[in-house]
């Protein structure tokens, strides 16, 4: 059963995944070229100074691309299910609704994590190539909130698509927008790290929220 669900999600996602991967790698590549150009145009030590002491995050272009990726992947998974009420097919499969939702989300999040991991590897390697290891080491704590924002964005898109009433959709949009904006707050590297133990709680809350929307979706006409 799980294999079948993964197959279905894969079939829906694969072209979007390729597209997102291409976009993400493209932006990563642009980051690499920008850094390279900056190092050539200015003195390397000045770029280092900006990255270390002025807290310039030279790879911050990727953050909204990561969020967009999560939104696109969630939409790619759930919009086809909404069109023509196709979700009814899955909801009738001999598997519990919550398990169905879990595995569907897991597949989407797995692909999203894969893309983000590729971003991190690319950015990390770029930074490591041009900067000392300390600068590369903060890539992870700096990018982690962006990834978490993506996970929240993914859950938000899923919830909002599954919701059956406009008022709830609007309310959830506001709530999730605030939560996502929190993950993008601050400036410079590692700024949000002290808040991560608190903010990480938003992840299980966001993930769990989807099940209530899915229940309402099924029991209110799917």
């Amino acid at each position: 059963m799980i294999k079948s669900i993964m197959l279905k999600e894969w079939l829906k996602l694969k072209w979007f995944l390729y597209g997102c991967l291409l976009l993400n790698i493209g932006v990563c590549f642009k980051i690499l070229l920008d850094i390279r150009q900056r190092l050539h145009a200015e003195h390397a030590e000045m770029v280092w100074y900006q990255a270390i002491h002025l807290h310039s995050v030279l790879y911050q272009d990727i953050r909204f691309v990561i969020l967009a990726t999560s939104l696109v992947l969630a939409a790619a998974q759930f919009v086809p299910e909404m069109l023509g009420r196709r979700m009814r097919i899955a909801l009738h499969l001999p598997i519990g609704r919550n398990r169905l939702v879990t595995w569907s989300m897991l597949s989407g999040l797995l692909f999203f994590s894969f893309v983000t991991l590729a971003d991190w590897l690319f950015v990390f390697s770029t930074i490591r190539f041009y900067f000392p290891e300390e600068v590369a080491a903060v890539v992870l704590p700096t990018m982690l909130p962006w990834y978490l924002a993506g996970v929240v964005g993914y859950c938000a898109t899923t919830c909002i698509l599954l919701e059956t009433t406009r008022s709830r959709r609007v309310f959830l949009s506001i709530v999730f927008t605030i939560v996502v904006s929190i993950f993008f707050s601050g400036h410079g590297y590692s700024w949000l790290v002290p808040a991560l133990p608190l903010l990480i709680v938003c992840i299980p809350l966001s993930l769990l929220s989807v099940y209530e929307s899915a229940r309402r979706f099924q029991q209110r006409g799917a």
């Binding site: 030590e45 000392p132 300390e134 605030i178 939560v179 700024w191 949000l192 809350l205």
Partner: protein
């Protein structure tokens, strides 16, 4: 049960988001951003004089005794800070407390030294790589070095920015010089100014693993290392360097026991500033030196406190200014009623996220009661079971946030 957990999750997420977003929005619209009051000691009045922001570029200029000034009157009381006004009016030299001061005397006797909590190690994310400026007396400017250094367990390592590689030569010479002075690796605190926008460079003050403090400079690309006589017993929080032409002190050492010690020029003798109740981790400190006196101003979100010293750092006068919230009382009460608590990540004394949970105040209790009453009396609709224990609890604990959440995410 699982469905209930899922619904509670949305409620919690929504309460969290609203308690972060709504007060922030409210403050943006209604609150007066007062900014920091400026507190000075006037040698003419021989009392403190200050400027308070009323919001919207409006200011109050007042002294300790309650006399109000206009801007020009305020500046006139501070001849050492606003000497350029006097210069324009050709009123220099000026006589203060019976002494004559010309422009040169004022400039050379004046120093501003600031220790901002958000710039202390640990209060902001910091990558421990620093530029060590090369002192070359023949050059009129301080060029930026093409490398940065780090301290490891084994030595002081230099990494060349052009090649992103360790510069073994520099590394070896500095490590050897440090070792020769008895430096015990690694470093436990590093203080220095990483900018070249300064009149001269005094390198870094570095505390070794045994607590000894070393003064490290680079002169003509060679290490100059001094093991200072500063006690290794000090529980150092941070080393803040000042590179000022007065050359009275190198900078200061902040310790965990709320002490601030100035490091004397040349002899590295420590001078404890007699400032009480100063917590460097949550307060900003300014030392304003003028040719006649020295003023230390410390401040947090509640008060700004000034202490004046004579040239020998003997306390002569003290003044505490309470920071006033200029927001109309009604708006403040309304804010308390609306918001039982507020979650925020920003802290003016931190350069990093600092999660804070702030209770609204006594009026918030009224807000919670109003929210509960509203919750129980909102018209019932078919399909909805309105009053449940969990929902009541959410409204009780989260007031307006809870009310909005349970009304939008209704129990079915």
């Amino acid at each position: 049960m699982f469905q209930q957990i899922s619904r509670i999750s949305i409620l919690l997420l929504s309460v969290f988001a609203l308690s972060y977003g709504l007060p922030g929005l409210f403050d943006k619209v209604f609150l007066h951003d007062a900014g920091n009051p400026l507190l000075f000691y006037s040698p003419l009045k021989e009392q403190f004089i200050y400027r308070e922001s009323l919001g919207g570029h409006q200011f109050n200029y007042r002294d300790e005794s309650g006399t109000d000034y206009d801007r020009a009157g305020f500046e006139a009381q501070l001849p050492f800070f606003y000497y350029k006004n006097l210069e324009k009016k050709k009123k220099l030299p000026v006589t203060v407390q019976g002494q004559f001061f010309d422009k040169k005397a004022i400039k050379s006797g004046k120093q501003g030294y600031e220790v901002r909590s958000r710039h202390l190690a640990g209060n902001y994310p910091q990558i421990a790589l620093y530029p060590l400026f090369n002192n070359n007396p023949e050059l009129p400017i301080i060029p930026f070095p093409e490398d940065v250094f780090r301290f490891t367990d084994k030595g002081m390592e230099f990494i060349s920015a052009d090649f992103n590689r360790i510069d073994s030569e520099l590394t070896a010479s500095f490590t050897a010089a440090l070792a020769a002075e008895g430096f015990s690796f690694p470093a436990t605190a590093i203080g220095g100014k990483t900018t070249n926008l300064k009149p001269f460079d005094e390198g870094y003050f570095v505390r070794d693993s045994k607590g000894y403090i070393f003064h490290i400079k680079r002169v003509l690309n060679q290490p100059v290392v001094v093991k200072t006589p500063i006690s290794s017993e000090l529980d150092v929080v941070a080393l803040i360097i000042s590179e000022n032409r007065r050359k009275e002190f190198y900078g200061s050492i902040l310790t965990r026991e709320s002490g601030i010690y100035l490091i004397g020029w040349n002899d590295y003798r420590l001078l404890k500033l007699p400032v009480e109740n100063y917590d460097p981790r949550a307060m900003d400190l300014k030392l304003l030196v003028t040719p006649l006196s020295k003023t230390v101003v410390i401040g947090d979100e509640e008060v700004v406190r000034g202490t004046v010293f004579d040239q020998e750092y003997t306390k002569t006068r003290e003044y505490t200014l309470n920071r006033l919230d200029r927001t109309p009382a009604l708006i403040r009460i309304f804010r308390q009623i609306l918001f039982p608590f507020h979650i925020s990540l920003n802290d003016p004394y931190r350069g990093k996220a600092s999660p804070r949970f702030t209770f609204g105040g006594l009026w918030s209790l009224l807000g919670v009661v109003v929210a509960l009453v509203t919750f129980y009396f909102v018209p019932k609709r078919r399909n909805f079971k309105q009053v449940g224990l969990i929902d009541s609890l959410v409204v009780l604990l989260a007031g307006l946030y809870g009310l909005l959440s349970v009304l939008m995410i209704r129990r079915e």
